[in-house]
């Protein structure tokens, strides 16, 4: 109950800035069993919104709901309301347009079994782009952005699915950027990536923040501290609290469980 109240309080304060995504009282069930209950929060434009919490907190389910992936997941049901740019996402006539505005990077890198070039050109092509020069431009820009261009520029025609794990993750990021999304969602992207690459990607995210909104789900609280403007703490299917990252990490929490988690007492 406490958590819901705080979230709503946070929401009131946000009304002044422009909210990109507004989540109200969202509950997610799989074949009836709730994975996440009563979440309310806002994601503002051009912020990095961190979500931390241990495994099975409902973080990934939450991301799936934002992207309407419940449509493709057997047994998954979302209740409550989610608005994107002020539009309730469960009442869109073209849900694919929503997804094309949200780029997603998974915990495990997925290089599609296409060439590196086609991996990045796929989203623009899906959007109907045919012009070779434009595509070339997007491919180069996105790969550069994702800090992968220098490593692959001489073999754009080799298979993306055969790159190393770290490279595939950067390819995935390049692919997400090629959608020219408003929102970039990263779900524990550093799990399959070495520390050096992780730092390089984090630098990229800091730059990207000026152009788009980033939702960063991470199991590394330090990463949230480094990158997120505001952070939500999820625990066992509940959003415990949402606050400014600096507040949470300086101990100004509303729920002691948040402090315990951040200080590494559990999770």
């Amino acid at each position: 109950m406490v958590s819901a109240a705080t979230a709503v309080m946070g929401a009131n304060e946000i009304e002044v800035a422009s909210p990109k995504i507004v989540v109200r009282d969202v509950t997610i069930r799989y074949a009836g069993t709730p994975a996440l209950s009563g979440v309310s929060l806002d994601v503002r434009e051009h912020e990095v919104f961190g979500i931390i919490g241990p495994a099975n907190a409902g973080k990934t389910s939450f991301l799936k709901a934002l992207n309407r992936m419940d449509m493709f997941t057997d047994g998954m049901k979302v209740e409550g309301s989610i608005e994107f740019d002020g539009r309730p996402i469960d009442r869109l006539r073209n849900v694919y347009a929503l997804r094309s505005r949200i780029g997603v990077v998974f915990p495990l890198p997925v290089g599609l079994p296409l060439t590196i070039y086609e991996n990045v050109a796929l989203a623009p092509r899906l959007g109907g782009m045919r012009n070779k020069a434009e595509l070339d431009d997007i491919v180069e820009r996105c790969l550069t952005r994702a800090a992968l261009w220098d490593e692959v520029k001489d073999r754009l025609n080799s298979l993306g699915s055969l790159l190393s794990g770290g490279q595939q993750q950067r390819l995935t990021i390049a692919r997400a950027l090629s959608q020219q999304p408003d929102v970039l969602i990263l779900d524990e992207f550093s799990i399959a990536v070495d520390p050096v690459t992780t730092m390089r990607i984090e630098d990229v995210l800091k730059e990207l923040k000026h152009e788009l909104t980033i939702i960063l789900v991470t199991n590394l609280v330090q990463q949230a501290q480094r990158l997120a403007d505001r952070t939500a703490f999820f625990l066992e299917g509940e959003c415990v609290e949402v606050g400014k990252t600096s507040d949470l990490f300086d101990g100004r929490v509303q729920d002691s469980r948040t402090r315990d988690y951040i200080e590494g007492k559990f999770g």
Binding site: Y96, S100, F106, L122, L159
Partner: protein, 289 residues
């Protein structure tokens, strides 16, 4: 210590005994068939000649060639494929890409199992009742091929489904997350990686269809026709039926003639199957992820 090793030795001996037993059972299953195939080759080879393959039957089918039967089989198989491949691939795409696991797909699966399990002669009766009589196609290539297509539909569905399944789910999810529709995902990522697998299934189906006899006996294949079919509404000879005819229905056939027909038929079938297996192995060695 000593006891243990004695036990070990005994175990080893029973072990190799069982191994040999099962090896012998396997060989008893395979060797007779290989012997029979050998006999077919030895006895049939003398019949095979240029004139045999490209000539017409002569003297009441006791001499001459099998050309009209060969051409007829190609007609029957091609028309059957035109129906069963699109239908089978569609069914597999529906089951694997669009439908979830529910009572409806369960019924479809049961239907597939039954199509594969119903005796070929019952398919023949269906072909007569539905295509020859009800739809009025008469005994024709069209009626026979439709019957064959429905009968071998499960082959296409099962193999297509298997190759679709081999494409990891993560690829689909990645595409969906980008805003791709199911069909865009299938066309751009799933199908390109499944087509070679589907192709092996299609070759397998060609082989199955080539050998079928009962379903075409009353629906479109004729014992003897002195000319080649010109459209799907004509009757035709077929290689499989020709083997039945020359070995049971025609008196005074020289011994090597039916052997020759059997050899050509089995050669075609095994060639297709080997091709399909070779393609499958080649693909297995060429991983794309």
């Amino acid at each position: 210590m000593f006891e243990a090793s004695e036990l070990n030795l005994r175990n080893k001996r029973t072990e190799s005994l069982y191994r040999t037993l099962f090896l012998v059972m396997t060989l008893l299953l395979i060797l007779p068939v290989l012997l029979i195939l050998g006999t077919l080759i030895v006895k049939g080879a003398s019949a095979i000649s240029w004139e045999f393959l490209f000539g017409y039957p002569k003297d009441g089918m006791t001499a001459g060639g099998i050309f009209p039967a060969l051409v007829g089989t190609i007609w029957l198989v091609s028309v059957a494929l035109l129906v069963s491949v699109p239908l089978g691939v569609a069914a597999a795409i529906y089951l694997n890409e669009y439908a979830g696991e529910n009572w409806f797909t369960r019924i479809i699966n049961l239907a597939i199992i039954n199509l594969a399990g119903v005796p070929s002669i019952v398919h023949a009766l269906f072909g007569v009742g539905a295509f020859v009589i009800f739809f009025g196609f008469g005994t024709s290539i069209l009626a026979a091929s439709l019957t064959l297509a429905i009968m071998t539909l499960p082959v296409v569905i099962v193999s297509t489904r298997e190759s679709l399944r081999a494409v990891p789910m993560a690829f689909r999810e990645a595409c969906w997350n980008m805003g791709a529709t199911r069909w865009q995902t299938i066309r751009r990522v799933v199908l390109p990686n499944a087509v070679p697998g589907i192709l092996t299934g299609v070759i397998l189906e060609v082989s199955r269809t080539t050998g079928e006899t009962a379903p075409i006996m009353f629906t479109g294949a004729a014992f003897f026709l002195p000319f080649l079919p010109e459209s799907v509404f004509d009757q035709t000879m077929a290689l499989s039926l020709h083997l039945f005819v020359v070995s049971t229905q025609v008196p005074n056939v020289p011994e090597n003639l039916p052997y020759g027909v059997a050899l050509v038929l089995i050669g075609m079938v095994l060639l297709m199957n080997s091709l399909s297996i070779a393609l499958r192995m080649y693909l297995r060695g060429k991983k794309k992820w």
